[in-house]
Structures are given as C-alpha cells and as structure tokens.
C-alpha cells in the first residue's frame, strides 16, 4: 500500500471512530445478536447479504437459495447466439460464505411476517429481525391460453438463465435458413426491459453469420413501446436489414393464445407460425413474496422509498425484480441486475442503521443497463432516482439512453463496457 494513502486512510478511521465509539456498542450491550435472513441468491439477494456483513460483521446473516450455482441473466442472450458459454455466467456462493454469510441451500416454503419467522422445505425454521425478500420472478403460465409449464421445452421462455437458455440456443441452431424465430413479449412490467429486443439482435446476428441469412425474427409485443426503442430500431436496420420485425400491441402484436404442437401464436386478428417460438409469459414477484402477502393486485411488492421496506409488512425488504418502485409505465425502476444491486445496498444500509439504533441513511438509486446488438455495437440506458417527500423521483436531467447519432467508437466502447460492467457486478454481488 502506498504509504501516503495508508496514513490518510488511518487518519480517516481515527476521525470516524472518535465520533462513533459511543454509538456502536448500543446493541452489544443488549447482548442480542441481530439476525437478518435473505431469501434468494440472485444479484439483489447476494448483494444485500454481502453488504450487511461488510457494514456490520456482528449481524448474523443467512442467505437462503435453492440452487448451488447461480446463472446470471445479463449477457445470456449471447449464449443463445453462441458468443459466450453459459459457464461464463455462472458462480457459486463460496466467496460470500467466506465473508461470513451463512449460505443455506434450501427452499423457503413460508414466511410469517407477524412472528418474523421463515420456514423451509428442509425443515428449517429461522427467525429474523429483518428479512430481505429477493425471490425474483414467477411466471404466470396460464395467462396465454394453450401455454403451460409443460410447454416450456417446446416454446422456451429463456427468461431465467440456465437450462432454458440452452434449449432456446439448440432450437435456433436447428432452425433452417428462412425460418421464423418468434419472440413473444408480455405486458409491462417485466424483467429486463430491453431483453427481448437485444435477443432479437443476437438471434439475427447468429443467423446472419451461420448461413441462415434469409431467416426472420418476429417480435410479437403486447406493448406499444419499449426500452431504447429508437436505438434498437437504428441498430437492427444497420446491422440486420430486413431481418427483424416488431409488431406492437397496437398493431395486433399481443399473443393471446398458442398452439404448442404447431408452434403457432394467435393474436387478436392474426396467427403466426414460427419455427422457433420464444414465449416469454407474463410474470410477477416470486411466489414466496406473493404468498407472504407482500404483493399488490398486479403481483409486485411495493416499497418505502427511503429504505426499501415493504409497505405491507414491517421489517421485510422486497428488492430486485420482485418489487415495484417509481412511476409506471415509463419511470418505474427497471427490473435489472444493476437496479437490484443498488436497491440491495439501500436496504442493507437501512437495516444496519436500524439494528444499530441509528437514523435512516440517505438512499441512492442508480441503474445502468447495457444491451449488445453485435460484438462492437453496444447501447445503454442510465437511470438515477432521488427520494423526495418519500417518493421515488426519476431525475430527468440525468440518465437516459445513448445518443442516437453516436459515432461508431461509442457503440464499440459500450459493447466493451458491457463486459466490464458484467465482470464487476458479478464480483460486487457474489465475491
């Protein structure tokens, strides 16, 4: 370590500690070790568990996650197009365990918000002082007639990365030149707002460079607009002319019914037969959040802006894709890994402060989201939120999308930054 910096560093600690000696042992005197339980080990849950431990190592933190290995959704569209192996998106929980987080691979079956306990399939019963609810999403398989959970191998959603991603990739590889690849997009809000449109580009890229240039990607959308629309349309046109067609909800794009056997999607007035059908069903907060009484009528968990605490139950903090925050349908917080992580850090800060008897710290919410249309063509959107009068406020003077008239260098930089972003968020959440 640089000696000058080290001196400054120690000085900073000294300055900080002189003021805080009196406050830190408040809970220690009570002789109770505070317990935090985190449900779900995705970007949000893992980040929350790790940061609570980082901020106050005296807190007992248990992370409950069913899977031993996590497969990240960001960049998973590049697995479909063959640019990336799925293993590059995977991580275990050993590193955050080494930070002192008690990692339990189990499945939460019930939460009792009044007794403040969590029960698991494995027979565990844990009590908590604060609960982070980060279960991600659950699909509504009945929303599209003719579809079902059994149909996911025929019409994969590939909207939880892993086996589904592989199936969609294989189906694309098996598709003949001239085939039609249908992507059915559910009504907002849904996970990863630019995901389907980035996927369209990645699929077109695969087709163009693998002897399937006559193929077509047909996006059947329940919505009339989408994230980074202008940038995507510009990129599609420049990179994959004539290969991608977007049908908005207003143009009869909403898929109401499917026939799985013939791979047909029925909209209000039309039917579209695909060679591959990537049907992304509507979704809502993970089942456990809904069953715990945290979700609103639309199936999402509303939160208190200063802390991310649930508006329904005290001491439960729904974060990540399961929560809904900000003004729908344009200024709501996007369901992205980056957003989940900044929400996790706000919740972690609020919980640590509360358990130490300290005032609520000022929250900061940021989202950065990259989409890669081709290896040297990246675009992004940035969101900054402030909390004013206990409301989420999207800062309109900042944020926004990459410029439409950007030079090629910017597109290249953003494609490279996307990978750097991914490596860093993976480390920040899981290492």
């Amino acid at each position: 370590m640089n000696p000058v910096n080290r001196r400054a560093f120690l000085k900073a600690i000294a300055a900080a500690s002189s003021a805080s000696v009196l406050t830190i042992p408040a809970r220690a005197h009570a002789g109770v070790k505070a317990r935090v339980v985190v449900i779900g080990g995705g970007f949000g849950g893992a980040t929350a568990a790790k940061y609570i431990k980082l901020m106050d190592s005296a807190i007992d933190v248990t992370l409950i996650e069913a899977n031993q290995t996590y497969t990240a959704c960001p960049l998973s569209n590049e697995v479909i197009s063959g640019h990336r192996e799925i293993e590059s998106l995977q991580t275990g929980y050993d590193k955050i365990a080494r930070r002192g987080v008690n990692v339990v691979h189990d499945f939460v079956t019930a939460v009792d918000p009044l007794k403040k306990t969590v029960a698991t399939q494995g027979g565990r019963k844990l009590s908590y002082d604060a609960l982070i609810m980060a279960p991600g999403i659950s699909f509504d398989y009945t929303a599209v007639a003719g579809y079902s959970e059994d149909a996911v191998t025929d019409m994969p959603h590939a909207y939880k990365a892993g086996e589904q991603t592989r199936i969609l990739k294989w189906q694309l590889q098996a598709m003949a030149d001239g085939g039609v690849f249908i992507i059915s997009v559910p009504p907002k809000p849904f996970r990863c707002p630019p995901g389907p449109y980035e996927r369209a580009a990645q699929v077109a890229h695969y087709c163009l460079h693998n002897g399937k240039a006559r193929s077509k990607v047909l996006i059947l959308d329940a919505n009339d607009s989408f994230s980074k629309k202008g940038l995507f349309e510009q990129g599609w046109k420049a990179l994959y002319p004539g290969m991608i067609e977007w049908v908005p909800g207003a143009g009869d794009g909403k898929v109401e019914r499917v026939d799985v056997a013939s791979r047909t999607c029925f909209t209000g007035l039309n039917e579209h037969q695909g060679d591959v059908v990537n049907l992304i069903p509507p979704h809502h907060a993970g089942q456990i959040a809904v069953r715990s009484g945290l979700a609103n009528a639309q199936g999402w968990c509303e939160v208190t802006p200063m802390t991310m605490e649930s508006t329904r139950h005290k001491d439960i903090y729904p974060i990540g894709d399961a929560c809904i925050a900000g003004e729908l349908p344009v200024y709501d917080m996007p369901k992205s890994a980056h957003m989940a992580m900044t929400q996790a850090k706000v919740a972690a800060g609020a919980i640590v402060a509360k358990l130490n008897g300290l005032p609520v710290p000022q929250p900061y919410y940021v989202n950065t989201c990259y989409s890669t249309l081709a290896p040297d063509w990246g675009i992004s959107v940035v969101h900054i939120y402030r909390v004013e009068n206990n409301q989420f406020v999207y800062v309109k003077t900042a944020g926004g999308i990459s410029p439409l008239d950007a030079p090629p260098l910017q597109r290249k930089l953003e494609a490279e930054y996307c990978v750097g972003w991914f490596n860093n968020v993976m480390a920040d959440a899981f290492a």
């Binding site: 994230s227 629309k229 202008g230 940038l231 908005p248 003004e327 349908p329 200024y331 959107v381 969101h383």
Partner: protein, 155 residues
C-alpha cells in the same frame, strides 16, 4: 339522425369527400357513407366550437365509461374504450380536449350495434379524453384524464 349532418353545409370539403368516394365507386347501396365527413368540425382548433357543433356536452353520466390508461407511455397510441349503458345510444363521439384538433371521431350506431367502441387515439399532452353520447335525442358525457409522458428516458 346524424349529429354532424346539421353542419354539413358549413363544411365545404364534406361534399367533396363524398363525391370522391362516389367517383371511386365505393358507395354501393349497402355501404353508403351516410355521415359525410364534416371538415369544419374535424379541422377546428376550438374545443368550445367543437363541443357546441356536436350538440353540447350534455349531462355528465355515470352510465358512460371511458376506459384509457392513467399514464400513456406513447401519446401516439392511446387505447380508448367507451361503453355507454344508456338505453338507445345512437352516437359516440371521442374528443381529445387538448389536442390541436380536438375532434377525433364520431361513431353512429344502428341495427343492434351496442354502445361500445374500442380504438386507439393520438394525444399530444396530458388531458381529458371526453366521450359525448347521444341517446334518445339527448346528450350525455363522461371523461377520463390520461397523463402523457413525453420524452421519456426510453428505459
């Protein structure tokens, strides 16, 4: 009786539209465009003028529902569904109160057509979508505010 027909003589272009349609051979006995397009009303930028031309707003009615999103993310495509449960509904008119051209559409219903239309309209700014209904010779109205988000972050 068609409400706008009263104004047909004022609308210089209205007759023109009909003759063009006739010249195009479109107007067969089964599909006559009885309601000549009323240029004067559709080209008017004056909300008050439009309201009186369509017969006045009439009484506010709970039997009319205007279904539209609270917030439209795309002002160019705002889904609007109007249901009139008033017996004998003959016409439904849609007005965008702050549109440069407020008059959006008129639907005259007959032979079993119910008091229901669903369409998509343009809105330049946050405003009321107003439905004016004519039933049994009387006018009724209802409105719903739609917030239009302009610019947006695209995210």
């Amino acid at each position: 009786m068609n409400i706008l027909r009263r104004n047909v003589l004022k609308g210089a272009g209205a007759a023109g539209a009909v003759s063009v349609a006739m010249a195009a051979g479109l107007l067969t006995p089964g599909a006559v465009f009885a309601a000549e397009w009323n240029k004067a009303v559709f080209d008017s930028k004056d909300l008050g003028g439009v309201m009186s031309a369509v017969g006045g707003a009439g009484a506010a009615a709970g039997d009319i529902s205007v279904k539209a999103p609270d917030i439209a993310e795309n002002g160019a495509v705002v889904p609007v569904e109007i249901t009139s449960n008033i017996a004998g509904t003959e016409s439904i008119i849609i007005i965008g109160e702050k549109n440069t051209l407020p008059m959006i559409a008129q639907f005259d219903l007959s032979n079993g057509a119910q008091g229901f239309v669903s369409t998509r309209i343009k809105m330049g700014t946050t405003a009321n979508v107003r439905a004016v209904v004519k039933a049994g010779g009387k006018m009724y109205t209802a409105a719903k505010e739609v917030k239009v988000t302009i610019g947006g972050c695209g995210g």
